[in-house]
Structures are given as C-alpha cells and as structure tokens.
Symmetry: C2
Subunit: 222 residues, 2 copies
C-alpha cells in the first residue's frame, strides 16, 4: 500500500477552483453550475461534485439543493476571524522561535531578497508566492509547519480581499519593509517588537476593507 498518488481528476478540479476563486477569476457571488463546470473542464459531474463538497467545507462556496451553487461572498466576520487566527498563531510561532538560543534566519533573508527582486521586476505572482513562503517558513522554523495550513484555510478570505486591491506598488513596498522588520526582530529575539509588527502586518489587509466594500458592494456580506 504505497502512498503514491496519481493525478486524480477530482483534485485537479479542486485546485483549479480554489485558485480561480482566490484570484477572483470566479468573483464572489458568481453562479457555478456542475454540468457547466464539468463540460468546461472536460470531465463528468462526479469529480466536480466531490471538489465542490470540499469547497463547501472550506467555506468558499455555498450550495443550495435544487437551486444552485455560488461562490461565497466575502464575509466581514470571516475576514476578521481569519485575521485573529493568523495573527495569534504567527505571534505564537514567533514566540517559540524567539525562545531558541540560536536562530538561523538565513532562509528568511533569502526569501526577502526574492520578494524584493519580484517587486523590482513587477512580477506580482512571484511577489505573493514569496510572501506566502516567508510566512510559511516562520511556522516551519517554529516546528509547527502544519499550523500554517490551518491558517491558510481561513486566510483564503483575506486573500480575496487583498486580490481586490491589486496591485499597489506603495503597499507592496510597505509589505517588504514590514517583513524585513519582522525578520530583524526574530533574529534579535525581540518578542514585544515582533508581536507589535505582526499585529500591524496582519491588520493591514483589513484596513482596505471598507473602501473595497464600498467599491464592490455585491462581493460582500455581513
């Protein structure tokens, strides 16, 4: 019973839909039809249904039997809770790393460089990939890599919000600067500074909520 996993159509559909929703190619509130999706992806309804069942669990889509399934709206409450979870766990991971006698942040520095480079070359996808990797790496360093997965699940709501505001060069510049300060604080083992920085960092995406909400009222709920 090896655990080699051949490409399952169901997984492919799931990944496809997650990235589509995350990147707003499927906007909040958009109608999804199982049959439509099936023939568009050249598969049957079965794998599509299984993918959708998982998406419902993730809180990304809402399905009403015999009526239809829609991409879930961006919930102000969910976004705020995601912020809470992310901030709390990142601070906790930061604290764990700080408690270590030696802290090797070389990997983080490398990711900072990569993000800086992506910023200069205006490669937004790479920029956010580096962003993800950096936050993920903090959890890896803390010894709790799977906690980041728990964060990611809830963070999808935040990602959509952030995607709505793309791309803002000034904001990206600030993100890099904040990351740099966080890594500095981590290397120095300065917990209070890290706590403050992470808190501000996590709330940044929230700040642009109200204006975006006014601009795209149909995308929001709560």
């Amino acid at each position: 019973m090896r655990d080699r996993a051949p490409a399952r159509t169901s997984d492919r559909v799931y990944d496809e839909l997650v990235s589509a929703i995350r990147d707003l190619r499927l906007v909040p509130g958009a109608s999804l039809s199982e049959t439509d999706l099936a023939e568009r992806l050249h598969v049957s309804r079965t794998p599509v249904r299984e993918a959708i069942a998982r998406l419902v669990d993730a809180g990304l889509v809402r399905v009403v039997p015999q009526v239809g399934t829609r991409v879930g709206l961006i919930s102000g409450r969910d976004v705020e809770e995601a912020r809470f979870v992310r901030e709390s766990l990142e601070v906790a991971a930061f604290e764990v790393v700080c408690a270590r006698p030696v802290r090797d942040v070389a990997v983080l520095r490398e990711l900072l460089d990569r993000q800086e480079h992506s910023y200069r070359t205006e490669n937004y996808d790479a920029f956010f990939a580096a962003d993800e990797a950096l936050h993920s790496e903090i959890f890896t360093l803390s010894g709790y890599p799977r906690a980041w997965q728990a964060v990611q699940r809830m963070k999808l709501q935040l990602d959509r919000l952030r995607r709505l505001a793309l791309p803002d060069a000034a904001a990206m510049r600030e993100l890099i600067d904040e990351h740099t300060k966080i890594v500095d604080a981590l290397e120095a083992g300065d917990l209070p500074a890290g706590r403050s920085l992470i808190s501000r960092h996590a709330r940044r995406a929230l700040d642009l909520g109200p204006s975006l909400r006014a601009q795209y009222p149909d995308y929001f709920t709560d």
Copy 2:
C-alpha cells in the same frame, strides 16, 4: 434562493463517520470500504465518496487509489501541532476577553456546574459535551466563535487520544478543577495566570501519549 438546507445523505454519512472515528468505533488504521459502508448505511457509494473526500481534507482518513481507504493513524506530530494551535488560540481569546472592562462569566459558571453534575452522575458523554461547550464559549465571549471551529478541526486528533484513555475519574476531577481556575482567572482578568493554566491544560492530553502509544502501538505513527 433560500438557504434552508434539507437533510443531505452525504452530510449524514459525514457526521456518522466523524463521530465513529472520534469515538474510536472505527479505530485508527481500520479499513474502510466504500461499498461496505454504502450498504451498511443503506445508501449508494456516491454520498459515501463525498463524505470520504471531506474526511481526507480533515486528515482523518487516508485513501490510496485502487488499493483502499483506511482510518488515519494518530500522528504524534499532528497531535503536537493541534496542541500548539489550540493553546495559542485559546490564550489569544483569553487575552481578548481580559482586555474588556467588564467580563460576564455567568455562562461559563453555568457550564462548570453542568460539568460538575455530569461528573457526579458519571455521565461521560455529557461531561465531554460540557467540556467542549466551555472551551467554545470562551471563543464566543472573545468575539471569535469561528476560530474555535478551526481548533476543532485539528483537535480531532487530540480527541482520539483522549478517548483511548477513558474514563479516568481522577483526571476528570482535575479537568474540572483546571476549568474552574481558568474561569476564575478570566473573571479576574489575570492574563499571566490564564496563560499558564491554559498551557498546562492543553498539554494534559499530551502527557498520556507515550503510555497509550506503548499500549496501542498499531494506532500510532510518527
């Protein structure tokens, strides 16, 4: 498009399997056959498959294509990470509540009484239901009720561990006492005390890991 949700077979199967795995009626490593489950629950394979897809996402079962699906083993790493997530978020919620000028812990006291009563009458199901409700209520008080759902997802691993050790009157007595102290600290707004108490409380289940692992080696991995 009302959001009334009639009972879906798929959901029923999912709930059934989750509680079965959690209560160890389906032990770690047990083989699950879709066809077998289907006819045992008097449904077809379709809803069973959708339920299993969600269980895989929750990390409770592992399916190898064309080979079989088994109840996931209890992973020492997953348990430790669940402890980290739970402790971190509970402390964070505790901190949020502490920051409030007034803290009404009447609901918590009521839950303590209920747990005490369940303990005296040896009603274990009610005991753990009160336990769940108490922890959940702390998150509700903090204003982040959905964060508890994130905890619960990971906590399923811990629940199985706890279930293996059931029932230990002395341990239950200690659980109640710790809960009481936590509520006391919350009412007093004593964050350091709460942090210490919650930390100890969250690690309690972990303490019995090694002995259980020696007793049921087939149930564990990592």
